[in-house]
Subunit: 508 residues, 4 copies
Amino acid sequence: MAWSLNDVSQHNSSSDCWLIVEGQVYDVTDFLPEHPGGKQIILKYAGRDATLAYKPIHPPDALERHLPKDKCLGPVNLEAKQQLQNQESLRKKTKDEVRVAEAQTRKPPLKRILTLQDMEDVARSVLSYKANAYYSSAADDLISACGSAPPLIFSLTSQHSAHSENVRAFSRFFFRPRVLRAVSHCDPSTSILGYKSSLPIFVSASALAKLGHPLGEANITKGAGRCNIIQMVSSNSSFSPAEIAAARVSPDQALFFQLYKHTKDALALKLVREVEALGYSAIFLTVDAVAAGNRERDLKAPWVLEDQERELEDQLRPMVEYPQDEAAASVLGTAGGLTAGNDADMTWEKTIPWLRRVTKLPIVIKGIQSVEDAVLAAEAGVDGILISNHGGRQLDYSMPTIEVLYRLRQQRPDVFRKTEVYIDGGVRRGTDILKALCLGAKAVGLGRPFLYAQSAYGDSGVVKIIKILEREVGHGMRLLGAATINDLVPELVERVDWQPILPALAKL
Amino acid sequence: MAWSLNDVSQHNSSSDCWLIVEGQVYDVTDFLPEHPGGKQIILKYAGRDATLAYKPIHPPDALERHLPKDKCLGPVNLEAKQQLQNQESLRKKTKDEVRVAEAQTRKPPLKRILTLQDMEDVARSVLSYKANAYYSSAADDLISACGSAPPLIFSLTSQHSAHSENVRAFSRFFFRPRVLRAVSHCDPSTSILGYKSSLPIFVSASALAKLGHPLGEANITKGAGRCNIIQMVSSNSSFSPAEIAAARVSPDQALFFQLYKHTKDALALKLVREVEALGYSAIFLTVDAVAAGNRERDLKAPWVLEDQERELEDQLRPMVEYPQDEAAASVLGTAGGLTAGNDADMTWEKTIPWLRRVTKLPIVIKGIQSVEDAVLAAEAGVDGILISNHGGRQLDYSMPTIEVLYRLRQQRPDVFRKTEVYIDGGVRRGTDILKALCLGAKAVGLGRPFLYAQSAYGDSGVVKIIKILEREVGHGMRLLGAATINDLVPELVERVDWQPILPALAKL
Amino acid sequence: MAWSLNDVSQHNSSSDCWLIVEGQVYDVTDFLPEHPGGKQIILKYAGRDATLAYKPIHPPDALERHLPKDKCLGPVNLEAKQQLQNQESLRKKTKDEVRVAEAQTRKPPLKRILTLQDMEDVARSVLSYKANAYYSSAADDLISACGSAPPLIFSLTSQHSAHSENVRAFSRFFFRPRVLRAVSHCDPSTSILGYKSSLPIFVSASALAKLGHPLGEANITKGAGRCNIIQMVSSNSSFSPAEIAAARVSPDQALFFQLYKHTKDALALKLVREVEALGYSAIFLTVDAVAAGNRERDLKAPWVLEDQERELEDQLRPMVEYPQDEAAASVLGTAGGLTAGNDADMTWEKTIPWLRRVTKLPIVIKGIQSVEDAVLAAEAGVDGILISNHGGRQLDYSMPTIEVLYRLRQQRPDVFRKTEVYIDGGVRRGTDILKALCLGAKAVGLGRPFLYAQSAYGDSGVVKIIKILEREVGHGMRLLGAATINDLVPELVERVDWQPILPALAKL
Amino acid sequence: MAWSLNDVSQHNSSSDCWLIVEGQVYDVTDFLPEHPGGKQIILKYAGRDATLAYKPIHPPDALERHLPKDKCLGPVNLEAKQQLQNQESLRKKTKDEVRVAEAQTRKPPLKRILTLQDMEDVARSVLSYKANAYYSSAADDLISACGSAPPLIFSLTSQHSAHSENVRAFSRFFFRPRVLRAVSHCDPSTSILGYKSSLPIFVSASALAKLGHPLGEANITKGAGRCNIIQMVSSNSSFSPAEIAAARVSPDQALFFQLYKHTKDALALKLVREVEALGYSAIFLTVDAVAAGNRERDLKAPWVLEDQERELEDQLRPMVEYPQDEAAASVLGTAGGLTAGNDADMTWEKTIPWLRRVTKLPIVIKGIQSVEDAVLAAEAGVDGILISNHGGRQLDYSMPTIEVLYRLRQQRPDVFRKTEVYIDGGVRRGTDILKALCLGAKAVGLGRPFLYAQSAYGDSGVVKIIKILEREVGHGMRLLGAATINDLVPELVERVDWQPILPALAKL
């Protein structure tokens, strides 16, 4: 049976709630209390079409996976389909959609992209305001440079953040290049957890790539595969682990999985089994997200748009809504929905042994932010640690990651012999990668740059920034007098006692 | 008997000076030499209505309290009342009043206030120029950021200040967050001098709340009571201690009293007895105000307004007048009037034992700015010390308070075991509070943020910022791996050797 | 006999050169090679009236003192006087003169001047471009803040300088104020070389006060005398030592003399004898001016004006002319003329003993810039040293003076017991003075602030800034817990490891 | 035989490629694969006149030197010459050419140039966009000051660079001047590798001077000769070593040669023999250019111009073209062509002994960037080392050179006794030179300042900046108390722990 719009519209309350997504009708009444983003956001669409709000932030198969079969009520009828299409075609474009469409026509040819910053600049111009806000948001205060951001935007909140401290911290490390060493042959390849990588970098997990491009994370999978680097897949991807695995360029392309452990061990185990079955090669257990980051930029985005365009309020608001109820304050913004259900009671004693027990995959702890925890991790026998503060998105004033790595090198160099050490956060140049490797990192993760690259040019953008980094890394190795990754030693780097003046990197 | 305006106008000299305040006539001839703000300011209104200048900066019962009964001459007559009303309704609004009235209509809904900075932004927009100048003023040079202040204002004097150094200093303390600790249950409550507090914060005394809102300090009392945090009440409140006590939401709501000790012990004692009788729970003896702060912003405010609007000079000038007589230079601006009579000869040997003798209330010394004095205070056996530089309002280049706390932690950790240590000055975020607690503070005071909150939204504003801080503190504790206040230890914080770039916090 | 303009105009070559100054005719032919500023500058006026160029930069009696009697040829005749007056009244005002005249009408009342910076702002507005350039110039690169300077001016050269480093250096010293000390009576008076001073400050020598006000240095003498502080008189004053001595408010007003020792001992001795006879109380021997400072701002001033007003080139150029001849490059700008004849071969072995021999006056060495030289001076038995880098006007990147004082305190505290130590350079606030005193300075000199004050308001301006500093010093002493100068000890000050953000102090 | 344009135009493919340069026809078919800048750039002109693109970046004799005689096909005929002239005269000037022509008319007289910065300002105004981009480019990110650069230019990429860190680093070294020393006679002369130099400076090699002025490097040769300082000639000069030698003002004017060693020893040897024969006095072996610097500014220049002027694309593009082929990524921009063929496998063991063997000339290693390599060089017995990071043009975040010198002084003062130590990079003032000499440098190189000087005023510009530096050095020596170069000792300099605020030096 196929439904008319009128049929659906009868079920428009919290005790009887249907909605339409991509032409399919769903009864979500029982699901309302479980929705990570809160029920209010769904109720806005009770009895109506929710495709526009749903699609950019959910995996395609999310509804099917979360609803019992009998709550998937089947398609709308032909007339309804036509009516929905008419609605869409009549819908007035928002100012932000007009801006994006225009920017798409002015996008420079890919060959003009010389740096990751160039790529980010293009991405910011073609991303929707909401996507920009989500991608660039970080905890608490954000630093705003006198960059290219439209001046009306975030002018009040453009502030300092650990996000930018991550970037600034790299600039306090200078090189002590060595000369008269044979470097005409220079090999930047390495291995990560035993998997070959053409460069000492990997894709660090980041959520909701579909906000920037319809093919989302799959773009990254394809680009990484073509260049032989490894992607860590986010639990909050806008595609399912299976869909992303299916996007690999070859069956032996390695993928890592970023695990947000669910409060219920059973649900967590189910997810582990799923990714094991799909052939993922390692589990990156995320430990720095026991509470949702306080991302005010993200929260304010809808208001900015609202103020820009009052009459379109209804279309824009649904995505992110600030909870009226202060008691619910821990569920915040786009980020809020993503952390619901995450286990906030993980411990060294309980969680690591449990995970070690249930899977044979290599285990990496993602989110180490102190020397002490690095030591505990090494003692716990995990296969690697990722020094990360979640791109500055969680706790403002968490120590910049390269500074943590530096302290680890100074205070406990033995840790590097016991476990592989990675780092992410603020890496934008080949020189950043080289600094981290000199200090002992096995590889370096990049997150936002891949989001920007795929948003701007799809998988070609992803390939492009890897090639840029390849050029920058090779070039830097030669000028440092290093022919192989093993030649990158601590003596090549010095932490200086002054602060270089940095360009405006975060422009939105 | 009721007076006509003509009756009053006969008494218009320094030897015979009457004035009208809120419809009542007073003979202030004998009071002229005692007026803390100087007699000239009163003489401007000799024989006239002074309500407009008087009301925003005096407690309602101030005249009755300071004048003998027989100098309160009774009400004006009906005709006079009508004439005064007519005068008021005919009075042309100043440009600044017009600006404020307009800003009031554009005030965002409270739910859009996500941070204390958002709140301050709103407050600044709806505060009069004079209130802005008084609230934001600090000693000597003030830093001005490229913020939202109307460009005509203070453009010459927007400069550096210890006030902003208080803020900047917090940014040099970074976190070393710990992971894999059970934090799903997280309790930020504590006690201060034995009184329960839902958060490790309290309201630090600040004067003249009525400048920002007709209900002034009472807004703060109500908001603090509803959220179970404690208010320290200023000696210079625009309401009397009794009026503020009466505003409590329940009889057991704790209040602290900030004491400016009068030169005459007897007068000081009388005040102590008064607040004891009203049920105040502790005395915070202020020791950093033996001279009035040199607040040039405050002093210049009337000239700025004058230049803006020459014809209204007379209305605007009275409030703050720079003394012609250089010898009287210690009485300066709005602040000047507030410190007259304060004891500048308090000593460790004399004053603390005296206070200990006359009251059983807990005693806290407010205004400690050095490790040495913290040690002396602990040896003197006081119940607590408040490390404070008066919000940077007294001596420019006094050490930022978080730096004093840090030095105390480094050099004399024993002091924290002997007395409770608090800190105020520059606290704007939950992370600031957490840093201070990690370094050993029992609780953290905030002053200006409460002035701004009540100015913008009355008691709802006060509740709002407490809720914001509750969210930020709870969120930060979880991400630090701290489930209780006791888990906040020095090892979680590191003072770094670089200076992050801060957003423009002080915009006026 | 009285001369016609035609008479004078016959003598218009380097072999026969007459000129008119204030109605008197002089034969300067023989003097041409001796003129410190070079002969070309005089030859521009050969056979003509030179009053306009001569007057603002020479003492009134300079011609009489330097020329033999028979070269003073007597007055012009009445017709010539009339013609010269007509010329002057017909002369078109330059744009800069128009600007200054206008600014004079907008000068705020003196009571609105609250700070030395306020005073400087007014002075800059009413000073001619040339005076501004001379007063504010310093060695090499000057920092320009985004201040009030007309944008066309110095836009290319607004740069960093030791001048501004002098100022910035003070901001790295913070206070550790002490509380609970009796300070109601607070006495900031002290003595300098045994002479009483109402404040621990003195006027540091600065040249050419007449550029800013017709009464020049005499304004300073009067103001200092009225406030009981001591003036150090520059060898390069625009009034003679005798004229300045005559301006004293009482015969016992102390004056110090700043000596630029002439290469020829006899000439130097003559000057010493002169000031001894006039009752000067000490000799400040200047040792940091063995070469003229490289003051590009000063040199560029005429070009800026020229570009502003091509047709008036002739009037403007004469004052300062860049030497065509590279070999003459050490004679530069307004400053260049002032150092010609100065002894560049003074030594510890020769000069100090000589001076000690020839005079009984106390001797102070002005221009000490290193700990080593402070020690040598103490060993040489001089009565005092003035740590000074000539206001940053000589060598760029000379160590800021407060930093030199700090190093002296750290490394050789014994020097403070052996000789009096003073400091100047960058002092703008009472807090600056207090910092220097805490670190061991006996008194602190201020130079430019007095030039600005007398330029803006004559002797009243001078009194005003002393009163401002008196208020600031007294206020700061109380808040530091210091009742007398002796209570200002090193423990009250801490050099911090961060750099506060300073306001734009140097606005031109 | 003389060719018609039609004749030439037949040979317009990669298998048969002729082109015209300055009226001569060349068959470059066989040369295509060997062209350092790639063949595509040549093919743009296949069958056409290439003079405009060829001339500014090649030595006049380059074609004759690289092509076999029989490939130089002789001149075009008269008609062709006429046609080419017509084309040129009809060619529409580009906007950039118009801007440059205009700027030439506004150039200030040379006597107004007081500083190297003044000179650079003039040069930037009269240089083509392309020359500006090449001269000012450096590795990776460049800092952009709020200077005089046309706002449309490089606005996206104006960023931090080691180039500006070279400059900023000098500002952290302050002087501790000594007084009372005889300095009226002051001698700044010294010797470099035994050759007399009137100042402790030399011209550091920089390429492509003809981009800025038709007489290019010859201007520098003449200016240096007239002032008795020594020029180091770049391997990549736009004139040949012979042409530059011929420009000397006297036969005994010393020249040094900067050697980029070719991969093939035989070719390198041939070049050494050539410069030996020409009378060059030393070999500066460049070791910091084993890979081409990543100069994005340089690469982006043509696109900026293109966007400015779409219709002229063809004329502008050829010079620098970003390789489509990622594999060819090491050949980049103007710089790319210059490093092709350079030996990337030089070693201490092999290369230095080889060079020592083949020549008796003094050997200096140019590009030392670490204390370790300075020590190795001293042990290898070379005659000198030049601490240099190639003006920041190679590896971003290479340690500023004055910091390397400082570390060498601190850690291995013995090296200064074993070999002569020079430094270049960021030297713009006499004070910079003095700082380096105090720390132990024998002499200091300047590169870009000479490019700018000759671009602005030819050889007179070169003389001018040497005279400026002479004045600044002499002036600074006197004020430091140093009468000779030997008096410049480490104790006169102190590295401070704060960062002065610098003016915008790099304005493009």
